[in-house]
Symmetry: C2
Subunit: 144 residues, 2 copies
DNA sequence: CTTGACTCCGTAGTGGCTACAGGGTTCAGC
DNA sequence: GCTGAACCCTGTAGCCACTACGGAGTCAAG
């Protein structure tokens, strides 16, 4: 039967070889048997499991969450309530992060496009220094 | 003249005391004079500088960026081109992050609200296992 | 005199990798 | 048989921006 080296598994799964070893170290991927020379020899199940992990990471799940999901996936008869709860929590976390970043984006937009000659009248620096500067505001309004 | 302890500076600036010591260690905040007992004694300028740093962090700027911004703020006659370039880069980075998260959010939404009795028919696990499962899809469509 | 809240310093931990350093193995070509 | 490239191994340190801890000194109130 065909076995894969770490590098081949990396190519087949889309996960870097060093990351594969890292996953083994933290117990996310079981240690495979070794060849006589000490090289790891992976079977097809490793490709499957690593693909699972990669997709879960792409969905933003934490390593610890993924441990739970792998457990769940190993018990096809268990209710998927836990998995769904994880999805809900993840959705809420992502939504919150998006809201934060959108607020950040608006704040940055009010500071962008400043081409003042002097840093003293720069909108960004005004803001960071918490300065009220009517002269600067007027100038910005005029040039806008 | 009034001086502040680390804790008092923390309260005045909204930055944790341990973070203040961290900023001193990495050279972002200058080391203040010490009292006879070895305690740090901050003046009002530290409140200003730390406020600047805090606001810049809230805008998502990296520590290294903030070093540059502090330099810039110390030279009021320098053109603010560099600051504006930093804002533009930051805006683009935030926008990209938002786009990524929105894609993630959509992906998660198609997986949410699964209340299957068996993990084998859970939409999340199907996706993670990269399984095509017409039976599951039909069931989900029917219960949706 | 004790209690509890502060201060100090240095180090280690967080998450999820990534990048070495310093060695061994394999294989193709000469 | 030799060389060199490309792989493999282990273990450790680095990334970011903190945060938490251990162990010790200091200080004001009761």
């Amino acid at each position: 039967m065909a076995t894969l080296t770490t590098q081949q598994l990396a190519q087949a799964s889309g996960v870097h070889a060093e990351t594969i070893r890292y996953y083994e170290r933290i117990g996310l991927l079981p240690a495979p048997p070794r060849a006589a020379n000490g090289y790891r020899r992976y079977g097809a199940d490793a490709v499957t499991r690593l693909g699972f992990i990669r997709r879960a990471r792409e969905l933003g799940f934490a390593i610890e969450d993924i441990r739970g999901l792998l457990d769940l996936a190993a018990h096809p008869d268990a209710p998927c309530r836990d998995a769904d709860a994880l999805v809900q929590r993840q959705l809420e976390a992502v939504a919150a992060r998006i809201r934060d970043l959108q607020a950040l984006h608006s704040a940055l937009q009010t500071l962008a496009g400043c081409d003042s000659d002097a840093a003293a009248h720069c909108r960004l620096l005004e803001t960071l220094e918490n300065r009220a500067c009517p002269q600067c505001d007027a100038q910005h309004a005029a040039t806008a």
